[in-house]
């Protein structure tokens, strides 16, 4: 009944996306030495990621399997995230090719480091072993520090990178200490073995609780959930815009993937019909519930107070969204997970879209502050302004946009589990978020340009990406069936 994990050689056939990505990283490092036109490297990265998407999608029709003696796994859940993460990286590379910031400061290594980061993300989504999980997470962190500090002439970027590094070091140090507690209690690093040990009554509630809290520091830092969010505003503001988008969408999704897999396969027990039960006597769902409420409330209130920089505002907004998504985590069943996966996809479209508009404005005017958006619709930027309005209303959760459907499923799962307090806090937060999203929309449409802001032009390269993301946000608002079905099918973990 229980198939064992495949060996190293037999696993190779299942890891084509990772192999291609790894080879491309090395290739790009080498190509950088001979190619003088650095955009070519970006094109290579783009093609590689398209290939990774195709190769990952192809695995959807194959079997699930535990690979490399149980280090990673390929199952519906992992593949869902691999597709999402590869698409996030694809969009990031696309954005980077059209970004003035990257063109001015970009070096050949940028593309290789970006692909390496993607490789780390893919492993985060499929790790079934604490050692592998830690390595993958640290890989993503290290590459993110480099990516966010890429504009070496910018004081802000250097500050962002340094803050990210110090904060990340503390967070992952805390996490690995927590993991050592888990190992000490369960006697294994493997998620399944930890699960078995906890089921057989090893471990006690208090030590496990401490271990989980410590572990949560590293995972919470990746998804930017409340007490571990401090890096987000500074890093989002200081990093180049495509990198910010990558961190907001990619890192966050991978952090959630790892968190879900660890908590649901090691710290919970499936009792059939898509319902999970806690094991080891630690009520971590209560913990997540509180974390969710605090995170969304903090993110939204801080965003309301934020008047200046739009990237910084989107950072607080992304903290708030981490809170919304944690709601699906706290309900402990497949409905919640499905809502989370769906919301992550929708979040990918609308948040990335918002960052593309921010980049378009920055490309033309070099400004990221709210005043730079004054009368955007009336000075050549009508298209991005309309798109931005769509993304922001979708982030708020207004019908008939994709964000509404996403929130609807999240709230439905919460209400079904009778967590009314959480639902009420969530709805109140959505109302609060309208304040600051609408403020941007008002600035773009209702205020007249004073003349000094400059004209915003849209080139076809960025316009195409913006159009695709807008269409996605609109279409998923009315025809969400296929995606929610796909998300529902992807909530199954391989019980190898």
């Amino acid at each position: 009944m229980e198939p064992s994990a495949l060996g190293n050689v037999a696993s190779l056939a299942y890891s084509l996306p990772e192999i291609v990505l790894g080879a491309a990283v090395v290739l790009l490092f080498l190509l950088d030495l001979v190619v003088t036109r650095k955009e070519t490297l970006g094109d290579v990265a783009l093609v590689t990621l398209a290939l990774v998407v195709v190769l990952s999608a192809r695995l959807l029709w194959g079997d699930s399997a535990a690979l490399y003696n149980g280090a990673v796994v390929v199952d519906g859940f992992a593949l869902f995230f691999k597709l999402l993460l590869a698409l996030a990286a694809f969009a990031t590379v696309w954005m980077s090719l059209g970004s003035r910031e990257i063109q001015k400061n970009g070096t050949g290594e940028y593309w290789a480091v970006l692909l390496a980061s993607t490789l780390g993300l893919l492993f985060m989504a499929s790790s079934t072993n604490l050692l592998m999980a830690y390595l993958a997470l640290e890989f993503v962190s290290l590459t993110s520090y480099v990516l966010s500090g890429f504009m070496r002439h910018s004081r802000r970027a250097s500050e962002a990178s340094l803050k990210y590094l110090i904060y990340g070091g503390v967070a992952s140090g805390t996490m690995i200490y927590g993991m050592s507690w888990v190992y000490g209690l369960a006697g294994s690093l493997d998620f399944r073995a930890i699960h078995t040990a906890l089921m057989s009554g090893q471990g006690a509630a208090l030590p496990l609780y401490v271990a989980l809290l410590l572990t949560l520091a590293g995972l919470g830092y990746k998804v930017a959930a409340f007490p571990f969010h401090m890096w987000a505003p500074d890093v989002y503001q200081g990093a180049p815009i495509p990198v910010t988008a990558f961190l907001a969408v990619g890192s966050k999704a991978a952090g959630f993937a790892l968190m879900i897999r660890f908590f649901f396969t090691a710290m919970a027990q499936s009792v059939g019909a898509g319902v999970y039960q806690l094991v080891g006597g630690v009520d971590w769902s209560q913990l997540i519930l509180v974390l969710s409420m605090v995170t969304m409330t903090f993110g939204n209130l801080a965003a309301v107070a934020q008047q200046g920089n739009v990237k910084r505002l989107l950072a607080y907004s992304s903290i708030a969204h981490a809170g919304y998504m944690l709601m699906g985590f706290a309900v402990l069943n497949d409905d919640g997970l499905r809502a989370m996966l769906f919301y992550l996809t929708v979040y990918y479209l609308m948040n990335l879209g918002a960052f593309v508009v921010v980049m378009l404005v920055a490309n033309s005017t070099g400004r990221e502050d709210l005043a730079g958006y004054r009368g955007l619709a009336w000075r050549g930027g009508a298209l991005p302004a309309v798109a931005m309005a769509i993304f922001l209303f979708s982030l708020t959760g207004l019908p008939p946009l994709a964000g509404f459907v996403g929130k609807f499923y999240l709230f439905a799962a919460v209400v079904e589990k009778q967590l009314y307090l959480l639902a009420v806090v969530g709805v109140l937060n959505s109302v609060v978020s309208l304040v600051y999203y609408a403020r941007i929309v008002r600035t773009m449409f209702l205020e007249q340009p004073t003349g000094g802001e400059g004209v915003v032009a849209v080139d076809w390269h960025n316009g195409l990406l913006l159009g695709l993301l807008t269409i996605g946000t609109l279409v998923l608002g009315v025809a969400w069936g296929p995606l929610i079905d796909f998300a529902g099918r992807s909530t199954h973990f391989l019980a190898y």
Binding site: L67, A71, V113, M132, L135, F139, F150, A204, P207, V210
Partner: protein
């Protein structure tokens, strides 16, 4: 004798670590780190992990610590740092640390730790090599990609722009 030696080495590690954290002079901190790292390597010996103990000395004491000392010596005015942000009170921090310490202490004392019988002190290198190339091949390979990328990244971040 065995227990006394253990407590001596454990004490050395803890006192070294305290020195790193509490000393206001960076050079003293670095020297305390020496005690902490040597102590940690002694603890590995108690766990019958001979290879890790030696590597700990070679890499951390011999390599990283020396590099750290060089970095301190070559950095201008590193010994007298001005802490600019004192907005967070020390008292709340102390309270939080004491609370966390108590909770963790209680947890450590109560935890039913998974106990392995003490291994006989046999050479571990064979087992480590075998694990790297069989059981843990993927993490081993991934670690090498991590190191490659980190190396390139560090160079990218730290190199000076060439002005033409």
């Amino acid at each position: 004798m065995y227990a006394a030696l253990f407590y001596f080495i454990a004490g050395l590690t803890v006192i070294g670590a305290l020195g790193v954290a509490l000393s206001t002079n960076v050079v003293y901190s670095a020297m305390s780190l020496l005690a902490a790292l040597v102590g940690a390597s002694g603890l590995y010996v108690f766990l019958a992990a001979d290879f890790v103990a030696v590597v700990q000395i070679l890499v951390y004491v011999g390599g990283i610590l020396i590099l750290t000392l060089f970095a301190i010596l070559l950095t201008h005015q590193i010994a007298e740092i001005q802490v600019s942000n004192r907005s967070v009170g020390r008292l709340p921090a102390l309270g939080l640390v004491v609370l966390l310490g108590l909770a963790m202490g209680a947890a450590i004392l109560r935890a039913p730790w998974h106990v392995e019988p003490l291994a006989a002190a046999t050479p571990t290198t064979y087992g480590i090599g075998d694990s790297f190339l069989n059981q843990y091949l993927l993490p081993f390979e991934l670690a090498s990609v991590v190191l490659l990328t980190a190396l390139v990244g560090a160079i990218v971040l730290s190199r000076k722009e060439l002005r033409e």
